[in-house]
Symmetry: C2
Subunit: 193 residues, 2 copies
């Protein structure tokens, strides 16, 4: 059946969905939730067509300027640099940051041909140089690529006389020391307070 095969192939483009899950999803929708299939179809189309990027911070936004950038109650002294809108959402959920954001277009990854020019570093430097910004918090991931990204950006920011900080490394909340990896323990020891 062409329509069923096409649906299964399309579902496999979702992250974490292989042949078996895609089949299960397709059969489930057709047998038990055709209304859900129609809803999902509409939601996908609307999202792909309506969601663009904020002109100021580059996060996902349905408007030219996102709600965070448009919020005057935020602290203009702080600018937090993240790798993706998903990372920004995680920071927002933590309810512990009240400044503005700048969302990079990914992270430096020489093997994939992504250099400092491809992640929007120039726009970041321009944004960070705006009046009022006193500290740029680098919140890229703590992976090799994320660390490289943070390092390169910190150098560039400091060369322009801007203050750049990095999220603290350490033992995650709720973890038992026995099961924490050695690199994390070493960092937590060095950065003890």
């Amino acid at each position: 059946m062409a329509a069923l095969e096409t649906l299964i192939e399309a579902l496999k483009r979702l992250p974490g969905v292989g042949q078996k899950s895609a089949q299960r999803m397709a059969y489930h929708l057709l047998q038990h939730d055709r209304e859900g299939a129609q809803q999902l179809s509409t939601a996908l189309r609307s999202a792909a067509e309506q969601i663009g990027h904020c002109r100021r911070c580059h996060t996902f936004s349905e408007t030219e300027i996102c709600t965070i950038c448009a919020d005057p109650a935020r602290d203009p002294k702080l600018l937090c640099v993240v790798e993706s809108p998903a990372d920004q959402a995680a920071l927002e959920r933590s309810n512990s940051y009240r400044g503005y954001y700048f969302v990079l277009l990914g992270r430096i990854s020489p093997l994939d041909g992504v250099g400092v020019g491809q992640i929007g570093a120039a726009e970041l430097l321009q944004r960070a140089a705006e009046t009022g910004v006193e500290e740029v918090i680098l919140a890229s991931s703590f992976t090799a690529e994320g660390e490289a990204t943070a390092y390169v950006l910190a150098e560039a920011l400091r060369a322009r006389g801007l203050k750049a900080t990095r999220l603290a490394r350490g033992v995650p909340v709720g973890s038992e020391l026995e099961y924490v990896d050695l690199g994390t323990i070493a960092h937590a020891l060095v950065d003890r307070r």
Copy 2:
């Protein structure tokens, strides 16, 4: 953002997808694969609109009679009863059955108010009584509800003088006896050959 929230809610209707996976899928599609989002949208709509049920065996079909029911090379003496199109697809993939199928509308589940009248038993009895059918193979699941379904259908078929058989129970291929559950071992012993 309304469009993003709506998309995440819609993705959560997929089986096995919770809040976290739905977020990851939505962010992935928007950031890296908008074309995939559009394709999936179209595939969902087409499938929901074009795929109906075969008039003869009730499986999913884009045509009035499905390709299996329309295939004259199949063995008309055998009729295999399954719970869902997904179960039928699994049997087809095993490449070991050459007869026709009858797909039930689920299985008997008194707690959910699904009795023998709701699973299409009347149509099955009618289909099984057609000239040429010599054996009805009951391939409902080996769960409590599937077993109840098979039992009730077998009784009804035998009362009409039709031959009803059940898939063999036993040790799955590739399994070590040590890890097979006791009920399966007991059945495999009784049905030894």
